[in-house]
Amino acid sequence: MLTAQRIDHLIAAYADGPRLLEAAVAGIPEEELRFTPGPEHWSIHENVIHVVDSDIVAAARMRFVIAEPGIALVSFDQERWGKALHYRAQPLGDALALFRAIRKATADVLKRAPAAAWDQAGNNTEAGPQTLAWIVEHFADHVPYHLRTIAKRRTQYAQARR
């Protein structure tokens, strides 16, 4: 069983995602948001849309694992989503607004979940059992992971413009 302190820490890290992502993209010109170092790489724009689309699935998974432990968590192929769901065309502002709304509402769900729920798991169709604690930590970390990619793109953009 997770300690109350560990649960608070996980929820705080998860809830902080929108602030971190908004701060990372604030003020970046459109051209730089759209820059990609090659056709197989996502632009900053596509990275942000991916983080938000993944969060829709993550928020649903958290609710499933709390209320219906043992249920199948259907894995998704991010490359296919990026193409089929037109990540380049999706507006950034609406994505960030949704990200805020999802994490705010879901952080409230997590705060009200019984402590025992954090050890409950669903069965990821690719990765196997995943506990609520793992899912929350994974998606909390998902933002810093993409912040590193965003920082890398910014460096690549600066180099390409030299």
Partner: protein
């Protein structure tokens, strides 16, 4: 729509009640939802418009309703207006994921969820109403952005339905148009329940 909760059982929820059931697969009133027929540009426009304006309909029926009335339930088997709205938010969240799976990975979709269990275990009564409404607004805004950018042919694209018959039976499929129509009609069901609760509250008072 012949949804179980609206047409057969009123809004009484037996233990097996699953609100996001297969109403879309059972056939929508919308012509746009007929399998094998790509909806016209006007029908697509109408579907997107109705999907996107759903949150405004909810906000309109909730405007000025007192906290006491929003929390009123006619009995232990019935959701209050508050619980109805939080439920719509969860169905919209999972529905948005389903629409994306249908478009990107039509062979996969999140399972149906147990609305009654979610309302109890996720403590709908304690979840803030404004956050639920904020989630509905943002999910629909964002998904409408996606829907508006799809080629017309995408509307007849099929995925697997979230409720499947017994193992071994022919899988039930649905089109994007049906999946979107399902979300629209699900909100309509709960708008009717909210109107009913208001009448019940007025009678009880």
């Amino acid at each position: 729509m012949r949804s179980r909760e609206s047409s057969r059982r009123g809004d009484v929820r037996p233990p097996s009640w699953r609100c996001d059931g297969r109403s879309a697969a059972e056939g929508s009133r919308l012509r746009a939802s007929e399998h094998g027929v790509v909806p016209s540009a006007q029908e697509i426009h109408e579907l997107i418009h109705r999907y996107e304006t759903g949150p405004r309909l909810l906000e309109a029926v909730l405007a000025g309703v007192s906290e006491d009335e929003i929390r009123f339930s006619p009995g232990p088997g019935h959701w209050s207006i508050h619980e109805n709205v939080v439920h719509v938010a969860d169905v919209d969240l999972v529905g948005a994921a389903r629409i994306r799976y249908l478009l990107a990975e039509p062979g996969a979709t999140p399972a149906s969820f147990n609305g009654t269990r979610w309302s109890q275990i996720l403590d709908y009564r304690a979840q803030p109403l404004d956050e639920a409404l904020g989630l509905i607004r943002a999910v629909r805004r964002w998904t409408a952005d996606l829907l508006a950018r799809l080629p017309d042919a995408a509307w007849d694209q099929t995925g697997i339905h979230w409720e499947q018959p017994a193992p071994g039976a022919e899988p039930v499929a649905l089109t994007l148009a049906q999946a979107v129509a399902h979300q629209i009609e699900h909100t309509q069901v709960h708008l009717r329940t909210i109107a009913k609760r208001r009448a019940q509250y007025a009678q009880a008072k």
